[in-house]
Symmetry: C2
Subunit: 435 residues, 2 copies
């Protein structure tokens, strides 16, 4: 008999952890709906043809594929667990385009799976919380709404964030003026994305190895290190992009977003232009966003605009933009800062025997009708053991009605935190202190 275990990279969640996770989901859901996003869900697994080729080579490799039941070797698999929520969402839009009202604003809170090497803070099963807008032509007000939405969520969570913003066309413009060849575009963005993690020198080394010339690198490296404010960056890049149509478009989009966000104002969030932000997913084409906690570099979410994704499913002229929040990363960061509260069950009825329980049961029903979480200890065991159960589960009140109390028509209530005990005549008199 092997001691039971779970697959590596997966987790069990205890009641205390689940209460906190449910609280997070509830806040995120509430704010998504406040901004007019509607919930949808898609299956846990998709046809493999839907998923392959959307996440780059690594993504294809890290996908969890399902084995056929029955004759497994005949054809190993044609299904895989979803890798993110964006591709299944776009598949949804294409499949249901005739029922959908555009612009289509949906949110989705579901797990995704990656056969990644498990390590601290990285799991093989984790939850994403996505809000996206899909329409036949994009509008930068969509980006502004999404930034407002994140501000609203993290303000409610009492958890200040920085949103880093950049634009794929600005990176495109920089590639243009640097002379880097088009076929090195993916190599360039993949390496650049590591700028904040591994630093300028290692990024340079990696780029040179991939065939980018030192001259090209030095022509644009200056911009990735700029510490100045938005206007200064804008001014410098406007000069640099004098002959780059692409670069100009990127600058124009970001300026629009910045100008309007400044006038509408954010509550708790800092918006910061990070020119080295590139984002891994291949499908981003416009604005890109990354969300990090204040005083911390770990990404807890991201997003951006993807204009070509629906093309891959044969649907033209569709622009999508969205944010994706990582529930598990947010959880870990908030846990570290002690930002959660938990709410336990309120009352435990001590079990003195069948007749006593039966007598007490109408009071149990009464408290539940009032919405007060009420438990009956299921066995007639030693009182000490029953009180220990209340204590270990952080249940603040016990109610004892033994033979003696029944005879005297009394209800004995113990407050376990204050270690006080009091007798009441009527269950009605207790309700207020329990709520």
């Amino acid at each position: 008999m092997e001691f039971p275990n779970i697959p590596k990279g997966t987790r069990d969640f205890s009641s205390i952890e689940m209460s906190k996770r449910n609280y997070l989901i509830q806040v995120i859901r509430e704010k998504f709906e406040l901004f007019g996003f509607y919930p949808i869900e898609t299956p846990s697994f998709e046809n493999i043809s839907t998923l392959v080729g959307k996440y780059g080579e690594e993504g294809d490799y890290l996908m969890f594929k399902l084995l056929h039941s029955g004759n497994v070797l005949k054809k190993l698999s044609n299904k895989a667990l979803r890798y993110d929520l964006t591709v299944p969402f776009v598949r949804y839009v294409v499949m249901h385009k005739n029922e959908i009202v555009f612009p289509f604003k949906r949110y989705q809170i579901q797990p995704v799976w990656r056969a990644d090497k498990p390590q601290k803070g990285r799991f093989r099963e984790f939850y994403q919380c996505d809000a996206d807008i899909v329409s036949s032509y994009g509008s930068l007000w969509e980006e502004i709404e999404l930034i407002q939405l994140c501000d609203e969520i993290f303000t409610k969570l009492n958890f200040p964030i920085i949103i880093y913003i950049n634009h794929r066309d600005i990176l495109g413009g920089l590639v243009e003026i640097s002379g880097i060849k088009n076929n090195l575009w993916k190599d360039f963005t993949t390496s650049l994305d590591k700028w904040n993690k591994i630093g300028r020198d290692l990024v340079k080394k990696e780029m040179l190895r991939k065939g980018i010339s030192s001259q090209s690198f030095e022509k644009i490296a200056f911009f990735f290190d700029m510490k100045e404010n938005f206007s200064k960056k804008e001014k410098h890049l406007t000069v640099a992009f004098q002959y780059s149509k692409k670069g100009k478009k990127g600058i124009k989009d970001l300026s629009f977003i910045y100008k309007n966000i400044r006038r509408i104002s954010l509550q708790n969030t800092k918006l910061e232009w990070n020119i080295s932000l590139a984002r891994g997913m291949n499908y981003y084409t416009g604005t890109i966003l990354e969300i990090v906690p204040f005083h911390n570099l770990i990404s807890i979410g991201g997003g951006g605009r993807y204009d070509q994704l629906a093309n891959l499913f044969g649907m033209k002229n569709v622009s999508g933009v969205g944010v994706s929040l990582g529930l598990d990363r947010i959880y870990l960061a908030m846990e570290k800062k002690n930002l959660f509260q938990t709410i336990p069950s309120k009352v435990l009825f001590i079990n003195f025997g069948d007749e006593e329980v039966l007598y007490a049961y109408k009071m149990i029903n009464f408290l539940r009708k009032k919405g007060i979480s009420t438990q009956l200890y299921p066995h007639t065991v030693k009182i000490g053991k029953q009180f220990r159960y209340a204590n270990d589960n952080n249940i603040p009140f016990t109610i004892s009605i033994g033979k003696n109390e029944i005879k005297r028509n009394k209800i004995r209530v113990k407050n376990l935190k204050e270690r006080t005990e009091k007798e009441y005549d009527n269950i009605n008199d207790i309700v207020n202190q329990l709520i």
Copy 2:
């Protein structure tokens, strides 16, 4: 380019469907917590060794197995998607026994997967909502609490149910007095479970084919057809079980549950002893329950007591009992009876251009602060198109602030259902009619 599709037996859920599903989950969760059950979650996939052999031969065959990434043929798979929530829960209890406070009351609301033949109302991915109690010795008050819990949930859903109850020891007693051999026990229960679906004659045919004698069958068939009330059934069986210790134990347990339920009383639920109820899962050992809607035979949930399951993971002296509600079956049954309401987004702000939106945005923020779900149409397109969007999404109010309104300091509000329009001076004056 293939038109995108999803694997058979799986489903996309639209916003309207999700609103209803979320409502169901919210009610079930709330009532679980009201009764002092705490949430936990387990991973979507488990080690295969955890799952095999717990559900019978069919279960092993219908499990979705995961393919190794990398060198797939070396070792095909050591993981599978969970098949139900009970086995992973017991695995959880055994793995975490040192942190858990017993009796352990947990609930779990998660999807499960079966590679079953898809058909009407049967899916390959579906949600179960389980509440279980695990302790070192069982108490029949646990069964009573679970029945009360179901009554509370379905009363709140305004959806009256029948709970069929039976006891494995009663079936054991019947097998004893009929002379059916012990090694035919599984064949007997599997066939008996179809009594209500396919009827006495077909069940008999199946049993004879499996080696049960006609004489044995006729000795006990009378009990499965009994239409009398609890006391009459009890009286008949007590006589029949004169020499069956097992049978007597079953009767005693059911009598205790019946007697106390009658005195505590249920709100909307009918409890009915169904002697032909057997339940498919191998792990049940005591009371068994099945939940069906009034005037309908489709099972929407079930449960029972399992005393040996933890044994399979090397943990002795553990008794578990629980109910499992099928979210998808409840959904379908309630949909058929039109028992859902949906709540859409409340307000759409018409988009007249960037300056107008910017002017209106402080009102959008104000309404959201009041908790009113408020959307901005993201593009400056023809007004008619924007109103159609509100209409198609069942958004009841639109707010229009164009150049003219800005100049006159007015806010134009349209009630799309009543087809009325009114002007206001202050956003504060609108709040009350929007809530």
